[in-house]
Symmetry: C2
């Protein structure tokens, strides 16, 4: 059944996201939400748009809600902030029935409740394609008012990855090639890791916060770099190193890859590391750390996190190479190509 | 010339919106912006979507940028906050050339610079229709941590309007009826107030702040109501009064109407007040005030503001009537009707 009015949709949203929250003084239903925020705040806006970031063909409404929030929280994570809440700009097409809206809300809710997020409010509109524009905020530790940033790396620092690379691209490539529901089901069954990574990437919030605490304790706020791996190493690494200004690069070895990435690379007849190097949307964390703190950092993680930073290279002046070979750096740009 | 890449668009945005701002610790270019905010914050998200909120046929790129921001600032104004900044979720179609993007930015800039807003960052995407999703924040006075809200009115209070009613609907109706550039030009020339009100409504930020200061000084935070008139009196008045819960209503007389509203109503053969009562998108402020403070309020405004609150009725138990007559309350709902 289609919603009869905007109010029907708002009623559903109301069911999933309670207005009471320590950061919310005044919730939805007025012109603005009123927030009480302490300390410096990380703020990010991400658009999650149909046929640019997702296909309805193989994203369930739950997946769409989940990932729309995940990509935002990944940005919050990469600044080292504790996520506080979101404001939701939701453009529907008018063809989404009540069950769809429920499942979409469940997708957001599943992730937002993991981090006890406030959903302060937002806006509802209509267009020919789905467009979910979320603005998220998060609080930084007092000792780290600027958060973790890009561009703090120096020669000799260790490049690291927390999470996986190439797995989401594997899932995307496989799902994208298949049109009918049966073959999509088969892909989902045979490539569970890859599909999950593309459809429901879990943002590295705990890991970002742990890194921020580590950086604060060791006074490394200007020596640890961090960003999230949304466009793939090929595109994101030069951003992390601020290559165009610093001239920094390094030779990359990605030793720890998911079995499904290895399997898919073999299937395609390409080196798995190339796939991992190019692959975007894994929402892993990519960072740099001075070598003298590396053991300390990894053992700090080993104590409390299932996701331990893996070294993928040492930063040097010069170009970025992959296993000693030059690579053609490419990435995804909505205004240059369509998915 | 079309932008060659996302970077081309970001370069233009960079030109118009400097990153330095007292509320911004870290600007664009990282995963998150880092803000330093003091006091409780009003937060709002508004979507401004092609063929729902505007037509390209008669909105210039400048108008689109201007109004996309105006509707957000109007929400901030109605909470009584001082606007601080925005985060911009911009979905383009890929057909907007560089001149278009420049003019769009100029539209936002013209308004944002009036209030020294921070533009903290945002996201860029692509779809078949334009969609501008802005999240704005603003700071509330220390003595008014919840801001000005709806639903504080009591029997006997004075209903007031700051700004105009029916003028934007006049502009919208006239522009919407005309398809060719020549007749649109004619409308713009012959109905300058109405067109301006529809294309570039100026948000009542100063007026909202003045009301908030007044409420704080007189300890009226729970006795003055305020909201912005976005959907028209017919739809917004029951929201202000929280009619379904309180049973409050009143008889409305809108005495002060723009000449163009009077002229258009005559042309259509309808009472001008009906037009004003129905008309949405004027982004006037609609509020209520205890009668014993009314003289004080209007004289406070008269001293420093060109926009003085006008009384449009006295709040009573019972239904909402217009000049003593019952009216059919209607409003606009994207999920029920198309413009």
């Amino acid at each position: 059944m289609l919603p009869a009015s905007e109010d029907d949709i708002l009623t559903i949203i109301q069911q999933y996201f309670p207005e009471k929250h320590p950061q919310i003084l005044l919730g939805r239903g007025d012109d603005c939400a009123i927030l009480t925020l302490h300390g410096s705040q990380a703020l990010t806006t991400d658009i999650f748009a149909e046929d640019v970031h997702f296909r309805r063909r193989y994203f369930t409404p739950f997946d769409i809600g989940f990932k729309a929030l995940a990509v935002n929280l990944s940005d919050i994570a990469s600044s080292g902030a504790v996520p506080g809440g979101i404001s939701l700009g939701l453009t529907l097409t008018g063809n989404e029935d009540l069950a769809w809206i429920h499942n979409f809300c469940k997708g957001i809710k599943t992730l937002s409740s993991q981090f006890s997020l406030a959903v302060s409010g937002g806006d509802l509109s209509k267009a020919t394609a789905l467009n979910i524009c979320i603005t998220a905020w998060g609080t930084l530790p007092k000792e780290l008012p600027l958060g973790l940033r890009r561009g703090q790396a120096q020669e000799g620092d260790i490049l690291f990855l927390i999470g996986t690379a190439g797995l989401a691209l594997t899932g995307f490539s496989l799902l994208e090639k298949n049109n009918d529901p049966q073959s999509i089901k088969k892909i989902l069954r045979e490539w569970p890791h890859a599909c999950r990574q593309h459809l429901r990437p879990f943002p590295m919030v705990q890991e970002g916060c742990l890194l921020a605490r580590f950086a604060a304790q060791k006074h490394l706020e200007n020596r640890i770099s961090l960003m999230d791996l949304s466009d793939g190493l090929a595109q994101d690494l030069p951003r992390l190193l601020n290559t165009s200004r610093t001239g920094l690069g390094g030779d990359i070895h990605i030793s720890c890859l998911d079995q499904e990435v290895l399997r898919y690379a073999k299937l395609c007849g390409i080196p798995a590391e190339n796939l991992a190097f190019k692959g975007g949307e894994d929402y892993a964390l990519l960072g740099s750390c001075p070598p003298e703190y590396w053991t300390d950092l990894t053992s700090t993680f080993a104590k409390i996190s299932p996701n331990i930073p893996t070294a993928i290279g040492i930063i040097k002046k010069g170009s970025i190479t992959l296993q000693g070979k030059k690579t053609k750096l490419t990435g995804f740009d909505h205004f240059n190509e369509h998915r």
